[in-house]
């Protein structure tokens, strides 16, 4: 290693020592590393961005990673702008609409915004170089580095880093929990319909697709596989759907989101059920909900996906999911005053079914047969007309992307086949570009074109 690198490491080591001192002086209340932000001191993006560490223009000779992770994040990843966006005009308008105090700094100082637009750990866990303005920086996802930066720099194996507190983002469940804590929400970290109505954009998500388009700041190389194992996009997709559904059910059961006055928490419902032109008669019967026209339906696109997955991996669970979701939809429209107990009971049952599935999904080795069967089942959801809501079409599209990504990574198809599939995916994507212009027939036609490209 170069002298420069040693020099840099010395600085970091010194910093770590200072921070550690400061921390021990501040409080013995430092919590052990744990998923969800209960981790150590966050040293700040600057601590990771050194040009010999994760801010390198060129990969170091012996590095197991690209080393340009900081550059990708800061140049291409929207997480790096998560805080800055809070001072833009749209954000200020949202803050005004919500009546947040603070004028031009209203959004940048409001906890409800900062909890997801920055690495909003308590003051006591912010190191000297930590800056809220870094937005969703390294440690927002990878955890506060104070406990592990030392060994991490010294080239410890991945396992040792994890043992010292690095957050295991490569593990599907851990990644899902981390991403979805903002991208669906949990507890008070939740973009309610009030926030949406104030101007916040809708939040679409699928774990595997969003990992890729972030864009990912890692490559699955031999070194990656040696250190972290081989990822499977289908598994990431599957676990993501289960966790997404679990979190949605948590939000539905949360007393904070119970109906108030005449109004339920509308963010838990399917956006396009309401947000469409009245001239556009769009209602279609769905056996999975049993709801009639004009009845607002709970967002259930994740559940539809999880059913497809479970039907392949754990058929009994698929049936339980279907039964309880139908009952949940029915309870959501049941006569007052019986409905709330029903909603809670069925949401808890759906949650349990999703949670029970997770270990099976984590264990399951999604293979070539699964890829083919899942792709066919996903296509069938649309082509068969079981669910052609825009929200479902979006999830079908992202799911197919994950399946194709897995086929590529696991060499289930040759390059020409993958390219043809990706072209067909592009065609599906086009039909979903604008939710108001979405037409199921056109989406179905694009699905059929994709189907024709699937390797036999």
């Amino acid at each position: 290693m170069s002298a420069d690198r040693w020099h840099w490491r010395a600085i970091v080591a010194a910093t770590v020592a200072i921070v550690a001192l400061a921390a021990s002086g501040l409080a013995a209340a430092q919590t052990p590393p744990a998923p969800g932000g209960g981790d150590g001191i966050h040293l700040g993006v600057a601590s990771c961005a050194g040009d010999n560490c994760h801010g390198a223009v060129k990969r170091g000779e012996f590095s197991s990673v690209e080393q340009n992770e900081y550059l990708i994040w800061s140049l291409k990843d929207k997480h790096s702008r998560a805080f800055k966006v809070l001072s833009t005009e749209p954000a200020l308008r949202i803050a005004r609409n919500l009546g947040l105090p603070g004028g031009k700094r209203a959004a940048e100082t409001a906890q409800i915004c900062l909890d997801c637009h920055a690495d909003n750990v308590p003051e006591s866990r912010r190191g000297p170089r930590f800056q809220l303005a870094d937005g969703v920086g390294c440690e927002a996802c990878h955890g506060g580095a104070v406990g592990w930066l030392g060994i991490h720099i010294s080239g410890a194996p991945h396992r040792a880093n994890l043992a010292a507190g690095l957050y295991p983002t490569e593990q599907p469940l851990a990644r899902a929990e981390r991403c979805l804590s903002c991208h669906v929400g949990e507890g008070n970290k939740f973009a309610t319909h009030r926030i949406m109505g104030a101007g916040h954009p809708p939040i679409g998500f699928e774990l595997d697709t969003y990992t890729a388009i972030q864009p990912a700041h890692y490559h699955v190389t031999a070194a990656y596989i040696a250190r972290k194992g081989r990822p499977n996009d289908m598994q990431i997709w599957a676990v993501g759907q289960a966790v997404d559904l679990k979190k949605r059910m948590d939000l539905l059961i949360d007393p904070n989101n119970a109906p108030k006055g005449a109004t339920p928490e509308l963010a838990l419902f399917d956006c396009q059920a309401c947000h469409h032109a009245m001239s556009q008669l769009q209602w279609r019967a769905r056996a999975a909900t049993g709801l009639g026209p004009g009845q607002l339906r709970l967002y259930d696109a994740n559940l539809v996906m999880l059913r497809v997955i479970a039907a392949r991996v754990a058929p009994d669970a698929a049936e339980a999911l279907a039964t309880h979701m139908l009952a949940l939809h029915q309870a959501s429209a049941a006569p007052v005053p019986d409905y709330w107990a029903g909603v809670q009971r069925e949401a808890a049952a759906v949650r349990k079914a999703a949670e029970t599935l997770i270990p099976a999904l984590e264990k399951h080795e999604f293979d070539q047969g699964d890829a083919r069967a899942l792709a066919q089942a996903l296509i069938a959801v649309g082509v068969g007309g079981a669910d052609l809501d825009y929200s479902a079409a979006q999830q079908q599209y992202m799911a197919l992307q994950s399946v194709v990504a897995a086929m590529n990574l696991l060499s289930f198809a040759d390059v020409a086949q993958i390219n043809a599939l990706n072209d067909a995916l592009g065609g599906i994507g086009k039909t979903l570009a604008d939710d108001q212009a979405y037409r199921p027939e056109i989406f179905v036609a694009a699905l059929r074109q994709f189907e024709a490209k699937l390797p036999r």
């Binding site: 009546g99 005449a262 009639g292 004009g294 959501s332």
Partner: protein, 452 residues
């Protein structure tokens, strides 16, 4: 249209009809009961069918019969221009077939829920030999089954005698409001809820005076009319119509079967554009005088806003109380269902108490000016992104223009041109075609003609 500024209440109202009217006017309204059913479909008379009225010496005449108190062409107007005649036929069209399928009905033309308003849907036992469901909303759907009064009616009995014998008093604002709104808003048994709307039923924009004219009316207010039925002004019809519409709306809120289901409120009670907008283009911020925060669905308060306007001239204290309770109702929709019911009860009571005052009140030229100013203020105000506000403002202004014309304050040509402008905004059912900005511009252009 109805004309004249004075009202002459006929004292010769016979006891039977008087009882029906009074029942509608006070006790039932005040007690919070919907009586649309009993009002609109008297149980006694047999409905003889449109053919009974359509004779060319009766209401199917091409020329006014000599000495006739009416034009005699009422059937012809209805049969050629009034959409009520198509009410049944529309049930056999493609849109209805699709709706019926969505709702799980065998078809629309045999479905009681559809027939209740798309035909003169009286029980079999009340259908005469010439009665046909396929006549749609025919004569007796509004005027009542004729078996009891056709005899004296043909023999030239007085209007009061006809009413005493069972003719429905459509000339009287409250009775007309009850009859029309029984379908054009709905009641306990006939109600276009969001289930129907979601299946494809059109919205129901309505204002009593404008819809009377647009039907088109099959009467003219001439001396013979006034001698028989008295004078009723457009603004009385408008004001009473708004009050009864508001009462019926509150009846829905207070009806546990209709107000809520599960997590969801009955969405037709709310402003369509609250939800039906493209969230990419975020109409936000959507200003509102109600104090509601972002992301809330707004109760459709257009009738209340118009009634407040009428009351501001007739009973200012009631106008203030109405305002206060509506604000409280809006707020309660976001946090307190018991509060919703409490405030809806209060609003209903105020509206019911206003009905007799509005029925009697003689709107003056000053009132007309003030009302037009008030309506324009609503139309140019913060809540004008709502099509319901735009619709009610437009139709209110049309009633005012008609009154100004009747009072000789505005000439025919000017009134026609103002109504032509307003007509463009009467039905903004498709929000894609409605933009507040041009509407505001049109209102501002009308303002000078309306006398400020």
């Amino acid at each position: 249209m109805l004309g004249a500024i004075t009202i002459r209440v006929s004292r010769a109202l016979a006891a039977a009809a008087g009882a029906v009217l009074l029942a509608a006017a006070s006790p039932a309204l005040a007690q919070g009961q919907s009586q649309g059913q009993s009002q609109s479909q008297p149980v006694t008379g047999i409905h003889l069918g449109v053919a009974t009225c359509a004779g060319d010496n009766c209401h199917g005449a091409k020329q006014r019969p000599k000495g006739s108190a009416v034009l005699g062409n009422e059937y012809i107007i209805w049969g050629s221009r009034d959409r009520h005649r198509n009410a049944y036929r529309v049930l056999t069209e493609q849109r209805s077939i699709r709706m019926a399928r969505a709702l799980g009905y065998k078809d629309a033309e045999h479905e009681p829920r559809c027939l209740a308003c798309h035909a003169d849907y009286v029980p079999e036992s009340q259908r005469g030999a010439q009665f046909q469901l396929s006549d749609g909303v025919g004569c007796e759907a509004c005027h009542g089954g004729a078996s009891g009064w056709l005899g004296i009616h043909i023999s030239g009995a007085s209007h009061d005698a006809n009413i005493a014998a069972g003719l429905y008093p459509t000339d009287r604002p409250l009775a007309r409001a009850e009859k029309c709104l029984g379908c054009h808003y709905g009641d306990k048994t006939r109600f276009v809820d969001h289930l129907l709307i979601g299946a494809g039923h059109p919205r129901l924009p309505f204002e009593l005076d404008t819809f009377t004219a647009a039907q088109p009316a099959h009467f003219v207010v001439d001396p013979a009319y006034i001698a028989r039925k008295g004078r009723v002004t457009d603004l009385q019809v408008w004001a009473v119509g708004e009050a009864v519409a508001l009462i019926k709306r509150m009846d829905t809120v207070l009806d546990p079967k209709r107000a809520r289901s599960g997590l969801l409120p009955e969405f037709v009670l709310f402003e369509c554009q609250s939800c039906h907008h493209n969230y990419d283009s975020l109409h936000a911020p959507r200003p509102t005088a109600t104090g509601l925060g972002p992301g809330t669905i707004k109760f459709n308060d257009a009738n209340a806003v118009m009634l407040r306007l009428a009351a501001s001239r007739v009973a200012p204290d009631a106008a203030k109380a109405l305002s206060a309770h509506m604000m409280a109702l809006h707020k309660a929709t976001t946090d307190d269902w018991a509060g919703v019911e409490r405030e809806a009860t209060a609003v209903r009571k105020i509206a019911a108490a206003l009905v007799p005052l509005l029925t009697k009140y003689e709107f003056t030229a000053d009132d007309m000016r003030a009302l037009s100013g008030g309506a324009i203020a609503v139309g140019t105000g913060p809540d004008n992104w709502q099509s319901s506000h735009a619709e009610q403002v437009t139709m209110t202004l049309e009633a005012i223009v008609t009154s100004l014309r009747s009072a000789g304050i505005v000439g025919n040509a000017q009134a026609d041109s103002m109504i032509a402008v307003l007509t463009q905004y009467k039905d903004v059912a498709n929000e894609a075609s409605y933009r507040p900005e041009p509407f505001v511009k049109a209102l501002r252009a009308l303002q000078p003609g309306l006398g400020k």
